[in-house]
Amino acid sequence: MRLQVSSRLAVFALLDLAANPDRQLSVAQIGDKYGVSSHHLAKVMHILNRAGLVRSVRGTGGGYQFSGNARRTTLLEVIALFEKLGSDGAHAAAPDPTAEGRALAEVLNEIDDIVRTTLGSITIATMLKAADRMRTQE
């Protein structure tokens, strides 16, 4: 499975901010770390701000702060802000007249369901722990 660039940036930005909720990071600081333009990242941060996951801080040294609940916000909620993920029964919603088509839809729905369950079970806090584990393995 591949995520769109905006979804990946949103997850990375939230992880950076949630790792230290008192810290503010500017769009340029986050963009530099992941090698993306401030222009692209600004749009992502705007959407996260509107969703209540970050808050913008004005003034010198302003930027963004994490304002969500790291133990409650799941990857599914974040990614769904940027792209459409297959939802339960989505393939059945556009019924194929053939038995082969319905059989294929059944398989694709199974895959969609697993993707949604997996992304919906992993929170920002869980991802931060996983990233820490990765660092200790380096």
Binding site: T74, T117, T118, T123, A125, T126, K129, A130
Partner: protein, 139 residues
């Protein structure tokens, strides 16, 4: 045992007294080195709760070709004391028992719609394993 039965009934909405008595007989009394039935009780008597939670596990070997590993097949925490680390303490205690029994991996199974258990086990670092559960309706 009545407290285990009552907690499970409150959490799942289904009372299963015979099942829990059978599990306790098999897991709490026999083959103690491979089967674990652990309970969390309040340290502070003022809690006025006899039981904070419980976990049941077993070391199983070679089912489905799997090398010996520890299975967590029941874990429940009193809803009034959630988010206080009881579940984590129970899982850590069970992990320790599994390690003493000589296994290096722990496994469980969670219903797809059990969001709470998914969040909990994921937060404890558990990931999808090498097996996929399959089933079919019997005609």
């Amino acid at each position: 045992m009545p407290h285990i039965i009552a907690l499970d009934a409150r959490v799942t909405g289904l009372a299963k007294p015979d099942y829990w008595r059978d599990v306790f007989e098999r897991y709490g009394r026999r083959r103690l080195d491979e089967r674990m039935f652990l309970v969390a009780e309040p340290v502070d008597a003022r809690e006025r709760m006899p039981l904070l939670g419980f976990v049941v596990g077993e070391v199983r070997a070679w089912e489905f070709g799997s090398a010996p590993c520890g299975w967590v097949f029941a874990l429940s925490v009193e809803p009034r004391v959630r988010l206080r680390g009881t579940g984590r303490a129970l899982l850590e205690a069970l992990s320790s028992e599994f390690s003493k029994a000589g296994v290096t991996k722990m496994r469980t199974m969670v219903a797809r719609d059990n969001h709470l258990h998914h969040l909990f086990f994921r937060s404890e670092g558990m990931m999808a394993g090498p097996y996929i559960q399959l089933e079919k309706d019997l005609d």
